[in-house]
Symmetry: C2
């Protein structure tokens, strides 16, 4: 049987995504990652270097294109609301992504792969701003940050939902609030500085 270096790497990375998103850097264990991957731990060191480098590889692999897969399709304030709803759905389908972003923010002093991610975020901000109407770059970026923050915190901090609304499982209800918030903020931004 042929060697499968790429397959082994991919298996390790997939296992590492699961382990780091669940436990963070400090709580993740090399043993568990190699067990989940069905690969010897020494292979992990050979391919990725050390635990910290593996974590950074996971963040780069998973977070680089986190915004790309969610399109902006409507126009006007509905564009922002629609995008927010789809981003919420994306987070619901892949809750490991918001979790990884929060682990990154809590455990690293500086984000990974900032050039790539900053560039992609700027593209999405511009796309959103154009679809909405006339938003400044700054306002569009703030709007995007608000959308992403609301979506991420619902999935990464379900304790808050449970304590404040008594329910961390009402995804539909929360989705409606997130889209309503987004549309309301967008209208406010379009009305100009008086609104902000």
């Amino acid at each position: 049987m042929a060697w499968d270096v790429e397959g082994t790497k991919r298996a390790l990375l997939t296992a590492a995504v699961a382990e780091f998103s669940e436990k963070g850097f400090g709580g993740a264990r090399i043993d568990r990652i190699s067990e989940r991957a069905g690969v010897n731990r020494e292979r992990l060191y050979s391919y990725f270097g050390n635990k910290r480098q593996l974590f950074e590889a996971v963040l780069a692999d998973q977070l680089g294109t986190i915004l790309d897969g969610v399109p902006v399709t409507e126009t006007g304030p509905a564009a922002a609301a629609g995008f927010a709803g789809r981003y919420f759905d994306a987070c619901r389908s892949h809750p490991e992504l918001p979790r990884l972003v929060f682990w990154e923010g809590l455990e690293l002093t500086y984000p990974i792969d900032t050039d790539t991610r900053t560039a992609r975020a700027a593209l999405k901000s511009a796309e959103l701003g154009a679809a909405v109407g006339e938003l400044s770059g700054r306002d569009a970026a703030s709007l995007l940050l608000t959308i992403v923050s609301l979506c991420h915190s619902w999935f990464a901090s379900p304790n808050l939902g449970l304590i404040i609304t008594g329910d961390d499982g009402d995804h539909e209800g929360r989705r409606r609030i997130v889209t309503a918030t987004t549309e309301a903020l967008t209208r406010g931004l379009l009305e100009g500085p008086a609104g902000g």
Copy 2:
């Protein structure tokens, strides 16, 4: 010199707040906590039991009254915006609090001290809903959750701010967006289901 059991406990708890808010449960170290406190590690086990119980004591001590210190003073949508701004300021003054909430959400399967915290959140929701005008309990809770989520994620996930807006240090700018978002959402909720 008299024994100071309460002082020793308080020193350990204070050191533990700092350590757990910075590193989370998985990354925190008992050695560092006892060093910061200037207290022998054995005292920690004697007073708190084990590392996990100390973490839970920290969460109960710090998060139980997190909303209480921020008043609702205006009326109408400005009440929500004003509260949001003050809550943002509280988070800025005590960034360990949003961080601890996120560590709790990521590292525990169920929040600590939920009865106390749920009761206090319900009081604050009711206070906010009444000040704003006529908001249902459910809407008021959703509004409160939105405010808290926006404030917490700015401080616990500064990586996002850096990547999306290019600046994780513009607290004033972000504060304006949070208050504007809050006011816009509040107006939308007051207008009824068409808004949500």
